[in-house]
Assembly symmetry: C3
Homo-oligomer: 330 residues x 3
C-alpha cells in the first residue's frame, strides 16, 4: 500500500528501531487475501509453523519485546481481539486494548484517519476491526505503521482466511489435491468467500452446500472459475460427504429468512451430528469459523476430525507470524 | 475436577511448557471453598505469605513470565478484576482483559463451554466471573486449562473467602481459638457463607449479628454446626463486641426491605463508628469485603484495627499464590 | 500534596521497592499546572527529551519493569488513555485498564476515595480521568501512591498543557521571545487556560482569536496579566497571523451557540487551510489538542509546520517522563 503521508522528518527518524528492513513483509499492511500469492502463503505458513513449534517448546518468547500493538475494535469480537492480544503477548510484546467504540473519540466526531494517525504515535502496529467496507484500506493509506485488517464489515477478514487455510495445511499436510465442501450461508459469509479465493490458488475441488437463497454469489463463483477450479452446488451434504477432505461449516442466520419456519426446517439437513460423521472419510477435517449455534452438535466435539478448537490455536500462530513479519522480525 | 474432553493430541502435546507437574495444585480448578481441607489452606497461606515477602522486597518478579491469563468478566467487578490483573502482572505474566459482556460473542448466542474452549487456545489459565450459579463448575468440566471462579452469581466467590481467612491469619497470627462476629446481611451475602464454611475447619466461635429477615440461612448454620462450631445469633452488636477478635461487616442492601424506613432505621445500630471501636478489643480486626456504603464510618479508617484496605492487599497475595500454584510454579 | 492517611505499618513497609527516594519528583502527585515553576518545567522537559532519545534508539526499555499503572477513566478518552498505556509499556511497566465507568464499582455507590485506596493495593501509580472538578486533588489527599490528573471535568488536564509546552520547546528550540496565538473556543477550553498559565512563566506575547461569546475568561486574563505578559484579543486571525510563532487551534463546539447558523458562519474565518498557511511564517508551529472536526483542513496535514500529529508523540514522552519521575526512576 503506498502511503499518502510521507514520514515526518523531525520525530520519525527513529523508526524503525533496528528492525530488519529487508524482511519481505517488513512494514506492509495486511488488508485483503487478494494481496497474497502461493509463494507468500508458503512463507507465512512456514513462519506460523515455527511459531507453533516455539509455543510448544517454551510457551512465549521475546521476539517482539518492546513492541506495542494497538488493538482497535470498533465492533465487538472477543475471539479475534483475544487472539491478537495473545499473539502479541506470546511474542513478548504489549497491547493497547481499545475494545469499545462507545468510549472512543469517534463519538466526538473524529475521522478514522485522525484516529489511526493518533494511535501510530503510541503503537508499532495497528489491528483494526471496523464495520465499514474499505476502512482498513483507508487506514493503511494514511498510516506510516502497518495496519492489519481484522474485519471490515461485509468486506474481508484476511487473517481468518489465512488461519483457515493454515488449519487445512497443518491437519492434512497439503492443500493441493483435496476436495473442500463449504456448507451453510455461502452468500453473506465473508469467511467462505475469502477462503474460496485463497483455495483457488491451489489445485482443489470445491463443493458448495447451501439453501437456494444462500448460495455463493455468481461473481465469486466466476472469479474462482477463471482459475480452473472445479466447482459444484448442492442442496444437501449427502452426495459429497464421502469424497470430502475438508468440511467447512458456517452459521445460517435466522435474519436471512422471511419465514422463520423455513430457517427452522434447515436444522434437519444443515446440522452435523455424530451420525453425519459416520458417513465421512476417516481422515478428514471438520471446520467452523465460530461462534456456532446449532450447526454442529456438541457430541461431535470429541471426534478427532473436529478441528474447530484447534483452528483457534492455528489462528494464534498465524497472527503471531503476521505480527512478527510486518514488524520485520521474521 | 474431572475433564470431560480429553487432551487433544495434535495440538496440545506442548502443554505444559516445562511446568512442575508434581506441584500439588498443578492444573486444578478453583471452584468452591468446599474443595479445601486445612492442610491445603495452610499450604496456600504459606505460598501467599511468600508472595507478600517477595512483593515487599522486589515489587514484581518473573515467576509467570510468558504465561497468559484470560480475565473473563461477564459482570462488572473493578475490584476483583483489577486484583487478578495485578496478581498476574506482579508475577511477570500477561492478561487478556475481557471485561464487558456486551461486546463478547455471548451476544451472538455462544455457549459458555464454547467461549471457554476458545479462550483456552489463547491463555494458560482462565478467571471467570459469571452471573449464573454453577457456571465455573461447568466451565471447568470443559476446560483443559485451569479455571478460577471469581464469583458465580449467588453461588461462590472462593478467592474472596480465601483472602478473608488469610487476612485473619496474617493480622492475628492464628485462626484457632478466636471469636468471629459477622454482621449485616448474612442471608444473601455469599461472602459470609463461604467464610463461615472455611472457618468451620478451625476451632472458632461464630457470632451472627443481623436484622431478623437477614439471618444466616438454616442449612448453612446446620452445616457449620455438624463441625461442632459454637454459633449464636444476635440482633445487636453490643453484647458480643467485647469478646470479638474479628468483626466482619457487610452491606445491608436496601432492596431486601419492603419498607425503606425499616432499612433506614438499621443505620443506627448497623454502622461502625469510632465510638463502636472504643468498645472493641485493643487487638482485633475490623473487616469488610467492600464496597462499603454507610456501614463503616470513614473516620474509622485511621484506626489500626481497620483492616479492610490491607484486606485488598492480602487478596493480591492470595491470587498471586493461586495463579502460581495452578500453573505449576509454586 | 499532604497525605491524609499515614502509611499503614503492617503491610506497607515494603513501599517503595528500592526506588530513589531523593529524586525530586519522587512520590508527588501531578494535579495542576499551578504546581510547577520554570525550573521544574525545564527538568521535566530534559527528562522527556531523554525519553524521546531512548525511544528513537531502542523503542522501549525496562526502566519501570515490574511497576503497575492503574489507568482509571471515568470518562472515555481513547487518546489520553492510550497515551498513558503506551508510555507505561514503553518503559517496560504494566497497566490495569479501567476504561468503562459503567462496570466500575462506582455503580454500586462506592466513593472515589475508597476506589482509589482499593486500586493502590494493586498498582504503583494511578492515572485518573474524572468528570468532577477537584476529583484528582481529592484522590491525592487519600492516596499513598502518586496520582496523575488526566482531566477533571472543566478543571485541569495538566499533562496536556505540559505536552503542549514541550511541543513548542522541541519544535522551536525555545519558549522565551515567541508570539503564541490561541484561536477557537477560549472560554470553555481548559486546554488553552492551562497552556496560557504555563506560558505566563516565560517571556511571551499572547494573542487570543475568538468569537465574542467564547473569549478567554476575564479572571484568567487578569491572572496572566499580573505576570506582565502582553495580551490582545482579536475577532479574526488575519492581523496576527504574520507575527505568530505558535498557532494553537481548538474546536468551537456547536452547543455553545443558540443559533446553529451562527456556529456555521464561523467556519469561514475559523478554519485553517493551505491558503491560511501561506500567510504564516515559514518557520512556525500549528498545533491542535485534537480531536479536530473542521477547524483544520486535512490538506494542511502535509505541511511540515503542522505539528499536531507530532504533538501526540511529544505527549508520549512527557507521560513517560512523569511516570518515571513520580516512581523515583528519573
Amino acid at each position: 500500500m503506498p502511503k499518502l503521508i510521507p514520514r515526518l522528518p523531525s520525530t520519525n527518524s527513529h523508526l524503525p528501531f533496528g528492525d530488519m528492513q529487508n524482511s519481505p513483509f517488513y512494514g506492509i499492511d495486511i488488508i485483503t487475501v487478494k494481496q497474497f500469492d502461493r509463494e507468500q502463503l508458503t512463507y507465512i505458513f512456514e513462519v506460523a509453523h515455527e511459531m507453533y513449534e516455539m509455543v510448544s517448546r517454551v510457551g512465549s518468547f521475546d521476539l517482539l519485546k518492546g513492541k506495542i500493538l494497538a488493538n482497535l475494535f470498533y465492533q465487538p469480537s472477543t475471539r479475534t481481539s483475544s487472539s491478537f492480544t495473545s499473539a502479541m503477548e506470546r511474542l513478548g510484546g504489549s497491547v493497547i486494548p481499545i475494545n469499545n467504540v462507545s468510549y472512543s473519540s469517534v463519538t466526538k466526531g473524529e475521522s478514522l484517519p485522525d484516529t489511526i494517525r493518533t494511535l501510530e504515535a503510541f503503537a508499532d502496529v495497528i489491528v483494526l476491526r471496523h464495520p465499514e467496507v474499505g476502512s482498513s484500506a483507508l487506514a493503511a493509506k494514511y498510516a506510516r505503521k502497518p495496519i492489519i485488517n481484522a474485519g471490515d464489515g461485509v468486506g474481508e477478514h484476511p487473517t481468518q482466511a489465512l488461519l483457515d487455510l493454515f488449519t487445512i495445511h497443518e491437519e492434512l499436510g497439503r492443500v493441493d489435491g483435496i476436495t473442500v465442501t463449504m456448507m451453510g450461508d455461502l452468500k453473506y459469509g465473508r469467511t467462505v468467500h475469502s477462503l474460496a479465493r485463497l483455495l483457488s490458488l491451489y489445485n482443489v475441488k470445491l463443493n458448495y452446500v447451501a439453501p437456494e437463497n444462500l448460495c455463493l454469489p455468481d461473481e465469486i463463483k466466476a472469479e474462482i472459475g477463471t482459475k480452473g477450479i472445479p466447482q459444484d452446488c448442492f442442496a444437501d451434504l449427502t452426495p459429497v460427504l464421502p469424497e470430502t477432505d475438508v468440511l467447512y461449516v458456517t452459521r445460517v442466520q435466522k435474519e436471512y429468512f422471511e419465514d422463520p419456519a423455513q430457517h427452522e426446517s434447515l436444522k434437519g439437513s444443515y446440522v452435523i451430528t455424530t451420525e453425519t460423521m459416520r458417513q465421512a472419510k476417516s481422515k478428514m477435517v471438520l471446520m467452523h469459523p465460530f461462534p456456532r449455534v446449532w450447526e454442529i452438535d456438541m457430541a461431535v466435539d470429541a471426534d478427532p476430525r473436529a478441528a474447530y478448537f484447534r483452528q483457534m490455536e492455528y489462528g494464534l500462530y498465524i497472527r503471531m507470524a503476521l505480527l512478527a513479519m510486518v514488524l520485520g522480525k521474521a
